[in-house]
Amino acid sequence: MGVLEEKKETARKIVTTKEGPNLKGTMIAVMLLGGFIVLSWFGVYWLYIVRL
């Protein structure tokens, strides 16, 4: 195995062994938060349009 391949192998191992924390719930919670903001915004925008 050449030096370059060895480096790639080491990098691959680091990538596969360093597991981040499970943040699925965080992801969904932030998306729900974003969704709520967008819905509220369009709610009042609709009010603006119908009152034009």
Binding site: G25, T26, I28, L33, G34, F36, W41, V44, Y45
Partner: protein, 548 residues
Amino acid sequence: MMNQMIVDRNDAKLSMAHLFIAFAAVLLGGIAGLLQTLVRSGTIVLPAGIGYYQLLTAHGILLALVFTTYFIIGFFYAGMSRTMGKFYDQPYRMGWLGYIVMTIGTVLTTIMILLNEGTVLYTFYAPLKASPWFYIGLTLFIVGTWLAGGAMCHQYYIWKKVSHKKISPLFSFMAVMTMVLWFVATIGVAVSVIFQFIPWSFGWVDEINILLSRTLFWYFGHPLVYFWLLPAYVCWYVIIPEIIGGKIFSDSLARLSFVLFLLFSIPVGFHHQLLESGISPFWKYLQVVLTFMVIVPSLMTAFSLFASFEIAGRKKGAKGLFGWFRALPWKDARFFAPMVGMLIFIPAGAGGIINASNQMNQIVHNTLWVTGHFHLTVASSVALTFFGIAYWLIPHLTGRVLTGRMHQIANLQTVLWAIGMFFMSGAMHTVGLLGAPRRTAYTTYQDNPDALGWIPYEVTMAVGGSILFIAILLLIYIITDLAFFAPKGKEDFPIGEVAEGAEKTPAILENWRLWLGIATVLILVAYTVPVVHMIEHAPPGSPGYKFW
């Protein structure tokens, strides 16, 4: 002079001196608030010649300025002493001097309001003209806060010099950033008060440029909102992770969000003036875009907090997508009050984005919706977080403990506050969309059907306000107990640690010249041309009016 886990005794006295005035202001401002809701709903008529707008001014000044500012400064002194060590002599003395000057200003302003000589509401919009002593009181108040901010910056400067560290403790960095934001923001209101209001109110000049005065006010007024919010964020980022048994998700992310708040919370005041004539639509548009940039650090904060909660919950064995949410310490008053504040910030933030949108502002401008909005932001998210901080900070400073019984009473306080605010702010939002104006005493507009339709909502506001007042009485009971009667002992000052594996904080995040330089450029871009226009092509000046 390193991290010593407890606040130095002398620093504790300085901090407590601020907290006492803060909570006295809550009681007085709360009484004014209760009476306002009862008057507005037509339930009572004020006795002894007391005016509705006099109460409204007292409520705004005592709660939005006095409570918040004294609490923030007291909290920061304690936190800096906890994370950097005892205050050095010079900043310590400057801290007391600031306290004295602020307090003289507060007393003078309050006397003017009580004498009915300063009934101009907390925004003191011209052409309403108060006694010059009202404006001088406000000036002294601001000068006192500058001395306080100077004390903190001086302490930070000496600490960095002595410790040779490039990165300061997260709490202290955030405290200094908040005070720097305050320095930059208050320049606007100081210029307006010193060069416009004081000469005009003394009669040295006959007229005032109203457009310029409002612009300078809102140059200050919007970052004022972030001056209230950032200390709450300090609690959410630095203290809550420790209380829940978790870690700070990322020190770098927390610092970056504070840097972004410095950059994007100041050149945005025009979104409060979207219906103001005399400002070109282009500059309004630019500042609305900059306002929307603030959403970025806000969502970064939301992500970071949820992540801290999820990591802590999963470490405790929480399963499922949202099992970590249940695993949070809901019975702990130090967590519960700020957490309810955070949850309320979700609708509060969404409402803020609506207010700042040009077209939608036409629906809500000057209506009770806006009053409902800031009762969710500052009077719920910020206030509940400050109450949650006080529950451990006061016993820490007075050498007492927060007992299990007091946890329960404090949680009841939080629940009452949330219920009261649900009714009051919910009714304000709804009736605001129906067109009910803010800053208006009880009237049926000669029995106009639209105005009569608002009355049930105004009664709901009074019901919510009454519940909130009970919550204030409970709060004062808790604060008094924690300051003077709780059992002697040791209450922790929680400071979170950064999660293992988080990236090292880059030194650039503490490069003040860089961030202040960018902030200055943004402010100059957003304000120079319109302000020069307001002076060169000034609208006709106005004499002062006194309608009360």
